[in-house]
């Protein structure tokens, strides 16, 4: 654990050093690329403003993650449980994956307004697909041997779903959630860029327009730190949810 923290510390320090090097090589032009020190200084000075906007964006991301996951899990369960639902909705789901979600952002803002709702909807949409498709895939790939055992044991469909297929699909759901978590901030920020009155994306856009590049970097850093933390929290939770996965891998390897 200490070694892991140490490695992360070294990585972060290395990235900051690279950033500073790029700043020096770029001729110390603050209006193009501010130094890490200056970004930190600005972040500290404007902390009130930044934090207020950050809370809005964090809230959008978390709400989107919760809603997208819930909807994705529910859709996968519905699709796998009812054949008619699967026949009708599966093609819709597949085709809708091809629609670039970002292109919908202006529409969502038009329909849902400049507030929280359009950004949450955007994040939800982005999170929904990886979660739904990964979980559905997991539910459909149950080891046939387990299903045969269940049949010989006279298990009903629901009992089989609950005690065999869902647990068996949890590792797939975990991978879907990891992907979803990585893309979740994109949804919120794109939503804010298209139209909003608060949030880190909004702040970045305005800072950019006023040539406050250091403020823009400070906002970007806050977003990045949150995204990384969120990923670690989700990843750790998933590991606890599917503890057998590592055991099986260790056994196979």
């Amino acid at each position: 654990m200490m070694a892991r923290v140490g490695r992360i510390g070294v990585t972060v320090a290395g990235l900051l050093a690279l950033w500073h090097l790029a700043y020096v090589l770029n001729g110390r032009r603050d209006y193009l690329l501010p130094s890490p020190a200056q970004t930190l200084e600005t972040a500290w000075r404007r902390l009130d403003t930044l934090w207020g906007h950050a809370l809005v964006t964090y809230g959008e991301i978390l709400l989107g993650l919760a809603l997208g996951t819930a909807l994705g899990v529910a859709s996968a369960l519905a699709l796998v449980s009812w054949a008619p639902v699967r026949r009708w909705l599966m093609p819709v789901l597949v085709v809708s994956q091809a629609v670039p979600v970002f292109a919908l952002a202006p529409l969502l803002v038009l329909w849902l307004g400049y507030g929280l709702a359009s950004k949450v909807a955007m994040a939800t949409l982005i999170i929904y697909f990886p979660v739904a498709s990964a979980f559905l895939d997991g539910l459909r790939r149950t080891d046939p041997l387990w299903l045969e055992q269940a049949r010989v044991m006279n298990a009903g469909r629901w009992a089989t779903l609950r005690h065999i297929r869902i647990p068996a699909a949890l590792p797939a759901l975990a991978s879907g959630l990891r992907v979803a978590t990585a893309v979740a901030p994109i949804g919120a920020v794109v939503g804010e860029w298209v139209g909003s009155s608060a949030g880190l994306g909004y702040l970045m856009l305005h800072a950019n327009a006023r040539m406050q590049i250091d403020l823009m970097f400070a906002a970007l850093a806050l977003l990045a730190v949150f995204a990384v933390l969120l990923y670690f929290v989700v990843d750790a939770t998933m590991r606890r949810l599917v503890p057998w996965q590592r055991e099986t891998e260790a056994h196979d390897g």
Partner: protein, 272 residues
């Protein structure tokens, strides 16, 4: 020979099944074809009540399919068979299946794996857990109740699978190469355990190991040829588990090998 089981039978079907606790099974008119190739046709196999029937054969001859036909797991046009029981009732719900590959659920501990059937049928879990714990103790895993399969050795996993098959408390047990992935000594120990625990049940043991068939089987059939046919069974003397070094077992092993390799075993062959 009394059964070594110390675990009382239990479950709603125990009373109903009791008079016919041991049931004989007859498979007839079994046919299997893959891609236009007839693997067997019109095959018949009898599993005498309370006896262990071993089925040997080279891989790809269709012996696993024969077992799966009895288990009711083969659906489709390529395979068909008639399965009848000597008590006239259907076999459905009276079979436990021990698969070739380790089929334990990786997320569940040993106890939960053994009690899986009870959980799937929505039976009360209190008594089921107690019985599962007793069965795990009987297969020598009483101290590993919460261990997940990934943390157990291959031999331990098959012992859990054996306990799960016993937990189902079904009169007919179908075993498809249950110990093929284990090393020789572990396999011998598990064969001893199996013979002790399954005594008195109707067992079909599909295997490619002649020694295993001869140690455990009351009757040993060899399935070979294309389309495959069954020879008249060999009946090793004595009660299972027979010693691996038993001269009778060793002598029959030579005969089994002859049949497996497809040599003509009819008497009066060319003398030296």
């Amino acid at each position: 020979m009394s059964s070594a089981s110390v675990v009382p039978p239990h479950g709603p079907d125990a009373a109903a099944a009791d008079p016919g606790r041991t049931v004989g099974v007859r498979l007839s008119d079994a046919a299997l074809q893959y891609g236009g190739v007839r693997l067997f046709d019109g095959l018949a196999l009898t599993l005498p009540a309370g006896r262990t029937t071993a089925l040997l054969g080279p891989s790809g001859v269709g012996k696993s399919t024969l077992l799966r036909l009895i288990a009711g797991l083969e659906a489709g046009d390529h395979a068909r068979a008639t399965v009848t029981c000597d008590d006239g009732r259907p076999l459905t719900g009276r079979v436990a299946y021990l698969a070739q590959r380790d089929s334990l659920l990786p997320w569940a501990g040993a106890l939960d794996n053994v009690a899986l059937g009870a959980r799937l049928r929505g039976e009360p879990m209190g008594p089921a857990r107690a019985r599962a714990a007793a069965l795990l103790a009987e297969v020598g895993l009483g101290d590993r109740l919460t261990a997940r399969p990934g943390t157990l050795s291959g031999g331990m996993r098959q012992r859990v699978a054996l306990a799960r098959a016993l937990m189902e408390d079904r009169p007919v047990i179908l075993m498809d190469e249950p110990f093929s992935a284990l090393d020789f000594l572990t396999r011998l120990r598990l064969q001893d355990l199996t013979a002790r625990l399954l005594a008195g049940r109707t067992v079909l043991l599909v295997t490619h190991d002649p020694l295993e068939a001869l140690r455990l089987g009351d009757a040993v059939h060899v399935l070979h040829g294309r389309p495959a046919t069954l020879d008249a069974p060999l009946t090793p003397p004595g009660a299972p588990p027979r010693e691996a070094v038993d001269p009778a077992v060793l002598a029959l092993q030579a005969e089994v090998l002859r049949r497996l390799t497809g040599e003509d075993h009819a008497g009066g062959g060319g003398a030296p």
